[in-house]
């Protein structure tokens, strides 16, 4: 799941200050689940900004609404009026949602209300950890199911580095050393042979280094003919 965090409110307030009509749009998908941009957060943000405006004597109209999945055009379209009726839209979805609105309404201003963070796994309520960076070429079958690209600060393929103390990462002593964990897991599985040989240089071209990535499922794509049939251009 995509895990995001609300931007500091002063930053949001500053971003929105010059505009008279603001629409804040939440999302019921990932960011609701990670408690960053669901209906509750949107409502609280609207109220908090109104208090701030009251304090500063600023006249600003602020509305809040939520869509099912902000990264999908069809859902965004449902609130088109609210978006276009405002001077600026603050997206409380991940950056995908914000960019979807931006791409759909290029003349309209859409600002991010969240800092999009990680592909996170909920360790416990309120704690999400980055276990994948979407490198595009998964190798965790060889590393005991633990991703060294995401979970090691140096993305080492032949770790652990010399800074691993008490099986913790030198960069953050609270965080487990990914390679210690890989070692332990493989030992448990009796598969240490997997890290006996040198893992060669990784091909990063499937990652973001290869440029903006697009994943296509040819058989799912609608043909030009189908699209016309549905009245979509």
């Amino acid at each position: 799941m995509i895990v995001a965090k609300r931007k500091p409110l002063n930053e949001i307030a500053e971003m929105l200050a010059p505009y008279k009509k603001v629409t804040i749009i939440g999302c019921r998908s990932c960011v609701a689940i990670c408690l960053a941009g669901g209906e509750k957060e949107v409502k609280m943000l609207v109220s908090a900004l109104k208090i701030k405006n009251k304090r500063d004597g600023r006249k600003q109209q602020i509305e809040g609404t939520v869509v099912e999945r902000q990264c999908e055009k069809e859902w965004v379209q449902e609130i088109e009026d609210e978006i276009l009726d405002s001077d600026v839209t603050l997206s409380m979805a991940c950056s995908l949602g914000a960019q979807t609105i931006g791409d759909m309404y290029p003349k309209h201003l859409t600002f991010p209300g969240l800092n999009t963070g990680i592909f996170g796994v909920p360790e416990e309520q309120g704690v999400w950890s980055e276990n994948c960076v979407g490198c595009g070429n998964c190798i965790i079958h060889t590393t005991g199911g633990i991703c060294p690209i995401a979970r090691c600060a140096k993305s080492m393929l032949n770790g652990p580095c010399g800074g691993s103390a008490n099986r913790k990462c030198e960069v953050n002593l609270e965080v487990d050393c990914a390679w210690s964990a890989i070692y332990d897991r493989l030992k448990l599985q009796n598969r240490l042979d997997l890290i006996e040989s040198v893992t060669p240089a990784k091909d990063w071209s499937a990652s973001h280094s290869g440029g903006r990535r697009v994943i296509v499922r040819e058989d799912a794509k609608l043909t030009q003919h189908q699209k016309k049939g549905k009245g979509v251009t």
Partner: protein, 137 residues
């Protein structure tokens, strides 16, 4: 009406919280008249939005009053309440507003002195910071 009074809203659980209010009154304690209580079953029911809306709609300060954390009728309700208040405090700080305007309190039903103290404390907060809107009362 003569001079204006601090507008204080309290979200109060109907267990130990309300009992502490009742006991204070029955023990002859007096407290600031301009405190307005909203009864909720448990402070775990309180949503940050309720607190923020109250500030938005004119409250100068808002408090939440629940059971002692170790003796909460709904076990963990007042812990939840505390966390909700904490989150609102953080939001207020981020906006440069006084987080002291919002507070969580806990009471045992047998404490007659707690509630008047809470009210006094919130009155003091409003005295210090004035109304949210800026114009002095």
């Amino acid at each position: 009406m003569t001079e204006p009074r601090p507008k204080i809203v309290g979200f109060c659980c109907e267990r130990h919280g309300m009992d502490a209010v009742v006991l204070a009154a029955r023990s002859g304690k007096q407290f600031e008249v301009s405190v307005r209580l909203v009864q909720v079953p448990c402070t775990g029911r309180v949503d940050g939005m309720h607190i923020l809306r109250s500030l938005e709609e004119g409250a100068d300060a808002v408090f939440v009053l629940g059971c002692l954390e170790k003796n909460c009728y709904y076990d963990t309700g007042s812990i939840e309440g505390r966390k909700r208040v904490g989150y609102v405090k953080q939001m207020l700080s981020e906006l440069g507003l006084e987080k002291e305007r919002v507070e969580m309190f806990n009471a045992a039903s047998s404490n007659s002195w707690v509630f008047p103290e809470i009210v006094a404390k919130m009155v003091e907060v409003v005295r210090k910071f004035g109304p949210v809107g800026g114009e002095k009362r």
